[in-house]
């Protein structure tokens, strides 16, 4: 029975005028979104590669100069994208692309693409994620709301179940038939997404890209499965097709529209981020604190005196300025760790609360997962910030150490050999591994699986209670 119901539902859906129109429309949007995302990503990757090469070249071709001048000259670090980011660009428009690694300062990211954006930007970009998270579920609702209820109203449900069989296989047949038709619609995502991923090898991070892509597809399939099963359950339980439609649309709206924004507002109010002026004032006060540097300088000095086996600081065979700079960088590093740690902690707290939306609606579980797999959530952004800052500190330490060891003690000018610039390792960023990402998003994974289980339970419950009259 089940195979013939699947075939009937599949063919019926394909013949449905609504499906054909919607399929063409959604398919075109999906392909347009994928191509637009991919081409934007490619352009960004090319620009980033050029800018990085230019910065590397600039750094390495510096003439002989004082290491501290080189430290102030610094280098710009540009954030690379993961190959899967074209599916869900996430925070990329709002997070900035470049950071300047220079002496004394942990700079903030500059040049957010959204800084140059219009009001249309706030409505959201046309992305594959948008199509799959909002549009396709609505299509499912439109196709499936009357699937059972209308059959009952027309009296065909009675005929279908007349042979006294169980309604559950019949319902499964409906669900699988509809899912098969949807699968056909989503084939472009699989083919085009896969092909674009295949051609997108240059200047983007491709490590684990295929696995990430496969998990993205699986997550979205589960999400859409929840909608197929849920809408059919509503259609079976509702007294009429009209009620089924209104209820399904209401749930869709709550899932996609109300909950994410409401949770974002609540999380923002519950865990407010530090205001710009406060951040700056506190930062400056801590950096200018004359007492903060002394203990570090004393400790460093004591270490050096022990190493060089001298009893008085003035006997150290070291450049005083270099030693001071080392201590000063250590002091400011601690201040930046504290302040940025607190600011990022507030953001993480907001995002954690936002992820709690996963308990109330499936999109709340899918969205963090999608962003994480595409490598475009705040956690990935912070990972890059931390890596860039670690590199800045390494650069500063190497340059200051060179000044301390080789700087003349008589106050004459010291120019470091350009070999020093070459000795500093290149900033080679590795994004978090998939395992780390998934460990971080276990709750969202569990949430999505939980919603899938709830949808199956609701579906089975509806099938058992199905009343053909």
């Amino acid at each position: 029975m089940i195979t013939s119901v699947i075939r009937h539902e599949f063919v019926g859906t394909l013949r449905d005028g609504r499906f054909r129109w919607a399929a063409v429309f959604v398919g075109l949007l999906l392909i347009a979104a994928l191509v637009a995302g991919w081409s934007y990503q490619r352009e960004q990757a090319e620009q980033r590669a050029l800018a990085t090469a230019s910065e590397d070249n600039r750094w390495l071709t510096q003439p002989a100069k004082n290491p501290h001048s080189a430290a102030h000259y610094g280098i710009w670090a540009f954030k690379p994208s993961l190959a899967t980011s074209f599916i869900d660009p996430g925070v990329e428009p709002y997070a900035g692309v470049a950071v300047w690694l220079e002496a004394h300062r942990q700079n903030q990211f500059l040049h957010k693409p959204a800084d140059d954006a219009s009001a249309a930007q706030r409505f959201g970009d046309l992305t594959a994620a948008l199509v799959l998270q909002l549009l396709v579920p609505l299509l499912v609702v439109i196709l499936a709301f009357g699937s059972v209820a209308s059959e009952r109203e027309r009296g065909t449900l009675r005929q279908a179940l007349a042979c006294g069989g169980n309604a559950t296989p019949w319902m499964w047949g409906k669900a699988l038939g509809l899912a098969a038709a949807l699968g056909l619609l989503l084939l472009p995502l699989l083919v085009a997404g896969g092909a674009l991923l295949l051609f997108q090898r240059d200047n983007v991070v491709v490590n684990g890209a295929w696995l990430r892509f496969a998990l993205l597809i699986a997550s979205y399939a589960a999400y859409l499965g929840i909608f197929v099963l849920g809408t059919l359950a509503v259609s079976a339980l509702a007294p009429s097709a009209r009620v089924a439609l209104v209820a399904s649309l209401g749930l869709w709206m709550f899932n996609g529209l109300l909950l994410p924004r409401a949770m974002a507002e609540i999380a923002g109010a519950r865990h407010p981020t530090m205001e710009g002026v406060t951040f700056r004032t506190e930062l400056r006060a801590k950096l200018d604190d004359p007492h903060a540097r002394s203990p570090r300088l004393e400790r460093l000095q004591a270490e050096m005196m022990q190493r060089y086996k001298v009893t008085r600081p003035e006997d150290l065979p070291l450049h005083r300025g270099g030693l001071n700079l080392l201590a000063s960088e250590e002091t400011s590093d601690a201040v930046y760790d504290e302040l940025f740690g607190r600011a990022f902690g507030q953001i993480e707290a907001q995002n954690r609360m936002q992820r709690a939306a996963g308990w109330f609606a499936p999109l709340g579980a899918l969205q963090p997962l999608s962003l994480a797999l595409a490598g475009t959530d705040f956690a990935h952004h912070r990972h890059f910030i931390t890596a860039a800052e670690t590199h800045r500190r390494l650069m500063q330490r190497m340059l200051n150490t060179d000044l301390m060891l080789n700087g003349p003690r008589d106050g004459s000018v010291y120019l470091a050999d350009p070999k020093l610039w070459h000795s500093i390792p290149k900033f080679d960023y590795r994004p978090p591994s998939l395992r780390e990402v998934l460990q971080d998003r276990l709750a969202s994974l569990a949430g999505l699986a939980g919603w899938f289980a709830v949808a199956i339970a609701a579906f089975l419950h509806a099938a058992r209670r199905l009343n053909p009259i």
Binding site: A32, E55, A264, F344
Partner: protein, 476 residues
């Protein structure tokens, strides 16, 4: 219109449980939205007040330090001494440019979460003067806000659709339509009456809640009447568009379910798909120039200046012979003179790049301005942003004024720094005062979306009535 029939429709609405439920939902969502807007406005006010207080405190501290140094006859490094223009301007001064938020912005956050309302104007760099200082949550910016504009743009249409999608089809499906049409040849008056009641109910409730919300949050007193009326006018016109569309769909004679599906799809198209497509088109046609290229250009300019420092300095001294050092000190020019020369040269080189950026963004913006007429949602949102001072135009004005303030500060201090002047006129330092666009200019700009929304609605209604009249027998 017959008042008795109108009163009957009101009674009909009152007895409808769905209307009560939807009304309740609207109340909860609008109050939540206004509370969010008020919270955001309070934070903005605090940011503005804190930065101004900090700026004043820095000046007061500098004055006190100057007095102390004088009293103790102490010397301090010129780069930190508040008694010298250089020390005061570069070390003590923190000049903030602030944009006081409008009370009406309780209703629309617009772009105000993206751009700060208080900027520290850096004397050394024009670019640093327009960047924010706080650490924002990009994920929150991505999700957007839940303000009154969101309620109007996204939720009000759904409410109106829910109240009006079956005004005619519902009666037909229940078999009561022929009875209702006994008095009229056409169902047009019935549809008009019901939609009018639904519209007045929803919009009346919304307007009441918004005005009450503004009053409760203390923003009503500071809100300009013209802007508030225009805001409500745009909300009304946008609601009218959705009602007109509902009437149009109803006039096609479909079933309730078909109407609901068509209207839900139209909602999706107008509020989500069209703005996203417009966004993509504008970005593809006039892509914003790469900021990474800007960084590369900026670095190239800095390098070039440092490589050609002697030649550039020589040229600079030809223009400013009064600053030229004595022959004996030619190899060690004053660092302040070098900084001034470098700044001027960097500005000269970056000016065309900045202009290219501005031109391209202006072209992109102009295209969106035209394309927004395709999506009434985008049309309404841009008008809401404009009217509450949270739109691009307002922030563009602010950014231009920040640039001018940066220039004013440099013009004030730079000659004094180069002349190594003593400084004591702390209260005469140029201060920033934001001059907002005149209200009439904003209202004139908002008149376009308002007019367009009303015109589209009127056209749809006329078309629908014609269609209802023509097909009345079939509908019954």
């Amino acid at each position: 219109m017959n008042s008795r029939l109108f009163a009957w429709e009101l009674r009909h609405l009152r007895s409808d449980l769905t209307a009560w439920l939807l009304g309740g939902l609207l109340v909860v969502m609008t109050l939540f939205a206004v509370a969010n807007g008020a919270h955001h406005l309070r934070l903005q006010h605090e940011a503005v007040a804190d930065s101004l207080a900090l700026a004043d405190k820095r000046i007061a501290d500098a004055k006190a330090l100057a007095q102390k140094l004088d009293a103790e006859k102490r010397e301090e490094s010129p780069s930190r001494d508040p008694r010298f223009a250089q020390g005061f301007a570069h070390f003590h001064l923190q000049s903030y440019a602030t944009k006081p938020p409008l009370g009406l912005s309780v209703l629309t956050k617009g772009q105000s979460d993206l751009y700060p309302n208080a900027n520290l104007v850096a004397l050394s760099s024009r670019d640093f003067s327009v960047r924010g200082e706080g650490v924002d949550n990009p994920q929150r910016l991505l999700l957007g806000h839940f303000d009154a504009a969101f309620v109007v743009v996204y939720l009000l249409p759904l409410l109106l659709i829910a109240l009006s999608y079956n005004v005619l089809s519902g009666e037909r499906e229940r078999g009561t339509l022929p009875l209702l049409l006994l008095q009229h040849q056409s169902p047009a008056p019935l549809v008009a009456r019901r939609c009018l009641v639904a519209g007045l109910f929803s919009f009346g409730l919304l307007a009441l809640l918004l005005v009450a919300g503004l009053y409760a949050t203390g923003s009503l007193a500071s809100a300009e009447v013209g802007r508030l009326v225009a805001w409500l006018g745009v909300a009304f016109a946008y609601g009218a568009f959705w009602l007109a569309l509902a009437v149009f769909v109803t006039s096609r004679g479909g079933s309730s379910a078909t109407n609901a599906v068509v209207l839900a799809s139209a909602w999706l198209l107008v509020t989500i798909v069209a703005p996203a497509v417009i966004n993509v088109i504008a970005k593809r046609v006039y892509p914003a120039p790469s900021r990474m290229d800007f960084i590369v250009a900026q670095r190239a300019a800095t390098d070039e200046i440092s490589h050609r420092r002697s030649a550039l300095l020589a040229a600079y001294f030809e223009d400013h012979p009064e600053l030229a050092p004595e022959a004996a000190k030619r190899n060690a020019p004053d660092p302040q003179v070098v900084a001034q020369m470098s700044y001027q040269e960097t500005e000269r080189r970056l000016a065309p790049i900045r202009a290219r950026f501005a031109e391209q963004l202006a072209r992109q913006q102009a295209l969106i301005e035209q394309l927004r007429f395709v999506s009434p949602a985008l049309l309404a949102q841009t008008a809401f942003n404009d009217l509450t001072g949270t739109g691009l135009a307002s922030y563009e004005t602010y950014r231009t004024q920040i640039g001018a303030h940066h220039d004013a500060l440099r013009a004030y201090f730079q000659p004094k720094i180069l002349a190594k002047e003593k400084f004591a006129k702390y209260d005469e330092v140029p201060r920033f005062a934001f001059v907002d666009e005149p209200t009439h200019a904003v209202l004139a700009r908002a008149a376009w979306p308002l007019g367009a929304l009303l015109a589209i609605s009127a056209l749809i209604v006329v078309r629908s009535i014609r269609s209802l009249r023509r097909s009345s027998p079939a509908l019954a």
